[in-house]
């Protein structure tokens, strides 16, 4: 079942002197339950593509549909609402709200969606348990390590049961052990709860874990490989 369709998407930045074609005619489909990585060298258009998929940026040309909804057709406030309900984000530098505790960060989106307290608490503690940080529920981000903060960010992204999670270089600021730990958690959530993850990454470990690796170069898809169950292409 297709949850995301990218049709002939272009993104052109016009600076005063040059025109940069950051994404150049990308066509991709994503199915529910994918664990995919978008890879490529710096400047290949990974983050730009991810931003457009997440509705944070709009394509110059082409169409992005999430569950049949064309993101370009949504007004600004509807788009924000759509993101809140259907798309989870994990950023490279965690971006937790510093004045909220781990628990409050996780339940932040549920609060925006006006969940009742009982359901909110239940879901929050489930997620904190899933990322192994239930005991740090009342710690502020400044008291957590980078790896722990990124795990909280994953829990926050999953809180409202989104259709997919976009993770932009989620392991870039983490050490090996924390990266391994985070990837295992995301893989487990993908396998057991069927949550779709789409990463942009340079990290070989992420690429190894991903079941689909899409390679971009100069804004174009130069390869789109599915791995077999044993991990080989």
């Amino acid at each position: 079942m297709k949850i995301l369709e990218i049709k002939n998407v272009h993104k052109i930045y016009n600076s005063s002197e040059v025109q940069v074609h950051a994404v150049n005619g990308v066509n991709l489909d994503f199915e529910k339950g994918e664990f995919s990585a978008i890879v490529g060298p710096s400047g290949s258009g990974k983050t730009t593509l991810l931003n457009m998929i997440g509705g944070l940026d709009s394509p110059t040309e082409g169409e992005i549909r999430v569950d049949q909804t064309n993101l370009a057709g949504l007004k600004s406030s509807r788009l924000i609402d759509f993101r809140m309900r259907h798309i989870g984000f994990v950023f490279q530098s965690y971006n937790l709200i510093p004045v909220l505790t781990a628990k409050e960060n996780v339940e932040f989106i549920m609060n925006l969606q006006k969940w009742n307290k009982r359901e909110r608490d239940k879901r929050t503690y489930e997620l904190l348990e899933a990322v192994g940080l239930k005991d740090r529920a009342h710690s502020r981000p400044s008291k957590l390590s980078g790896g722990q903060q990124q795990r909280i960010a994953v829990a926050r992204a999953l809180a409202s049961k989104p259709k997919f999670v976009l993770a932009d270089e989620p392991t870039a600021n983490l050490d090996t052990k924390s990266s391994e730990n985070l990837l295992n958690i995301m893989e487990e959530l993908n396998r057991e709860e069927g949550i779709t993850f789409i990463f942009s990454t340079h990290d070989q470990r992420v690429m190894k874990k991903a079941r689909r690796v899409i390679t971009l170069e100069d804004g174009r898809v130069i390869s789109d490989e599915w791995k077999k169950k044993n991990g080989s292409s």
Binding site: N51, G54, L56, D57, S76, S77, I80, D81, R83, M84, R85, F89, F91, N95, I97, P98, V99, L100, F108, I109, N111, L112, K114, R156, A157, S160
Partner: protein, 473 residues
């Protein structure tokens, strides 16, 4: 959800504790200074107006049509029996206080001065100017000073001050105690001794009995003491000659030095005789129940209808035009000072808001990216900045309150040379505080306006936020 947003706003406020405290402190001190200064300024105006009104004009006067423009005894009016009833039938008028006022040359020995002669009804005047309470009760005459110095219990520091205040007159013990710097603890022992030697006995004036009360400064100028005589020469009704000689029965110390320098009080009928004016009056002052601005204007309007153009009704503002405009100008300059103060503070607040917005641009981007509507984000930031302003304003008002309440009970009374300078300018050397009034509310309004203006920047940034750019910040 509102509760959650407020919690978030409150926590955000304390992210940079030092900056928040400095900004709130700047608002706090601005409010404290502005409120105390306004209280002092308005309170002092109140005292000046009260002195001018209660020692001279009254809140409302009834006069002959042309008297205000041309103050001669020819422009007087008869005090007809029905007039008093007509005036007191107004719900705000408690009593009519008849007066006859004119000018004369006053002589005593070789000295002469132009004086204001005021014919009063001594009993009725108790409702308004309470002249008898302004009679000098104590005076540090050279003899009194010598006698006090000879008392064994008088400490040296008081003896030194006695020299400084020799010849000063007092209408009560409080100012005397203040001038001699006698603590309340010592007053019980020392004051009775001092008062015993400084006692100054006055006599009363009453209708039908020739006799005069003169201002303290005027008495000094003319060298008058109780029992001396004063000769008054002026122009009477219809160009007749007005001349009379009166025994000094008392010396009054008027709060306004300008009046103290030239006032001579006579019983009303004696004064009317002096000016050959029969039963005519120059004015009827009204003792009113409610002397607030609104009530006074309403009373004036009603009386104007009742008197139907026969007589003129003036309120205290018309009668004290110069003082009103002087104090209005002073009030405006005070407001400009406060305006400048708030302008400086506003730049400080704006600086803080500017920094806060710049520092949190990325965070704003994240919040909008994960699904917070911009209007909700704007409401949180608005709450934060209002809370910061509120901290300052509440703190400032709370700190100002005890100062003002204390000041209302203990007005600042100037002493020595400084007091004399004030008196030379025609003001009573006292600075009073005004109680809690609309000026408190104005500080809230000013800070709120300041905050609203400062809010323009973050709100414009939030509503024009491009999430992708903000995430790169």
């Amino acid at each position: 959800m509102i509760e959650k947003n407020m919690t978030l706003a409150w926590r955000n406020l304390w992210r940079n504790r030092r900056r928040t405290l400095i900004t709130a402190a700047s608002v706090f001190f601005a409010v404290l200074f502005a409120v105390v200064m306004r209280s002092l300024q308005l309170g002092s105006y109140g005292t000046m107006f009260r002195n001018a009104i209660e020692s001279y004009s009254g809140y409302i006067q009834i006069q002959q049509e042309d008297y205000w423009e041309n103050k001669t005894v020819d422009n007087t009016f008869p005090y007809e029996p029905g007039l008093r009833e007509q005036l007191t039938s107004d719900k705000n008028v408690l009593e009519t206080i008849p007066r006859f006022e004119s000018f004369a040359l006053a002589s005593s020995g070789p000295t002469t001065r132009g004086v204001m002669v005021m014919g009063i009804h001594p009993e009725k005047e108790q409702h308004l100017s309470k002249v008898s309470e302004k009679l000098v009760k104590y005076r540090l005459t050279p003899d009194a000073v010598q006698a006090i110095r000879a008392e064994p219990q008088i400490p040296d520091k008081v003896k030194e001050l006695l020299d400084l205040y020799e010849s000063h007159s007092y209408t009560g013990t409080k100012r005397l105690q203040l001038d001699l710097k006698i603590d309340d603890d010592d007053a019980e022992d020392l004051m009775p001794v001092i008062l015993q030697h400084a006692r100054f006995d006055n006599g009363h004036i009453q209708l039908g009995e020739p006799g005069a009360w003169v201002g303290e400064k005027l008495s000094r100028y003319l060298g008058l003491e109780i029992g001396d005589s004063i000769v008054l020469i002026g122009q009477g009704y219809h160009a007749s000659t007005a001349a009379g000689k009166y025994a000094i029965r008392g010396i009054v110390k008027m709060p306004l030095p300008d009046i103290d320098n030239r006032i001579v009080y006579l019983p009303l009928d004696v004064c009317q005789d002096l000016y050959n004016a029969g039963d005519n009056l120059t004015a009827i002052s009204l003792h009113v129940d409610d002397n607030g601005d609104k009530a006074v204007s309403a009373t004036v309007s009603r009386l104007e209808k009742v008197l139907a153009g026969q007589l003129r009704v003036l309120d205290w503002k018309e009668m004290n035009e110069v003082l009103v405009s002087q104090l209005d100008a002073d009030n405006k300059s005070g407001m400009i000072m406060i305006g400048i103060l708030y302008l400086v503070i506003a730049f400080g607040v704006f600086g803080t808001v500017l920094m806060m917005t710049a520092e949190r641009r990325r965070e704003f981007g994240v919040l909008v990216a994960i699904g917070m509507q911009k209007r909700k984000l704007a409401s949180i930031v608005t709450s934060e900045i209002f809370m910061m302003g509120l901290l300052g304003i509440l703190g400032g008002c709370m700190a100002a309150l005890p100062i003002i309440l204390y000041g209302m009970e203990h007005p600042i009374v100037f002493k020595g040379e400084f007091a004399r300078i004030w008196e030379d300018y025609g003001f009573e050397p006292v600075m009073s505080f005004q109680g809690i009034d609309t000026y408190f509310l104005w500080q809230v309004v000013i800070v709120a306006v300041m905050v609203v203006i400062a809010l323009g920047h973050p709100l414009s940034k939030i509503f024009r936020l491009k999430v992708v750019n903000a995430l790169r910040a």
